[in-house]
Amino acid sequence: GAGVSQSPSNKVTEKGKDVELRCDPISGHTALYWYRQSLGQGLEFLIYFQGNSAPDKSGLPSDRFSAERTGGSVSTLTIQRTQQEDSAVYLCASSFTSQGRDTIYFGEGSWLTVV
């Protein structure tokens, strides 16, 4: 595709349910990032995948959050037992290296509402 694709674009779920958010990075991009954008909180780093290296999970807020990247391409962010404070826009981004510079491209985000 032409850009980073995320699905669903909007998700309303009941408190306590599990949700999965999907990210299709730009073809050929080796790095993939997940961020959370909350009102008044800015952009919060969640997790970063780079090639076959172990992911940087230092931003995951709790053990209810997990992410995987299959085949070095598609990634799924899973939130178990959702809470109302999980409501936010979840942004995925991917990057490649061009002339030694790493350009990061963002998706449009998945808007999660926990009711």
Binding site: E44, F45, A93, R101, D102, I104, E108
Partner: protein, 113 residues
């Protein structure tokens, strides 16, 4: 630890006026600094990076290591500049924190006609 601070959540100026969006950072080492912009109903996109030393849409930003700042400036603001602006930091390639892009809380710029 790396941290980015944008002290202004909201900034309003009139068209044609100069604008400066402030960004201060904390990082033990040599960082790479960026400004990202998100226009209404559009995805977040890169505006400029300090390494390129370029001017994009009339915006410039200079890295001041002494003051640990990377303020975004434009001499004459336009209505189409109204957007959310994020300052971001990343460690240089080869370092342990390379890849982890840390963002500030963002500044909403409104340019009035």
């Amino acid at each position: 630890a790396q941290r980015v601070t944008q002290p202004e959540k909201l900034l309003s100026v009139f068209k044609g006026a100069p604008v400066e969006l402030k960004c201060n950072y904390s990082y033990s080492g040599s960082p790479e600094l960026f400004w990202y912009v998100q226009y209404s109903r559009q995805r977040l996109q890169l505006l400029l990076r300090h390494i390129s030393r370029e001017s994009i849409k009339g915006f410039t930003a200079d890295l001041n290591k002494g003051e640990t700042s990377f303020h975004l400036k434009k001499p004459f603001a336009q209505e189409e500049d109204s957007a959310m602006y994020y300052c971001a930091l990343r460690g240089l390639a080869g370092g342990t924190s390379y890849g982890k892009l840390t963002f500030g809380q963002g500044t909403i710029l409104t340019v009035h006609p």
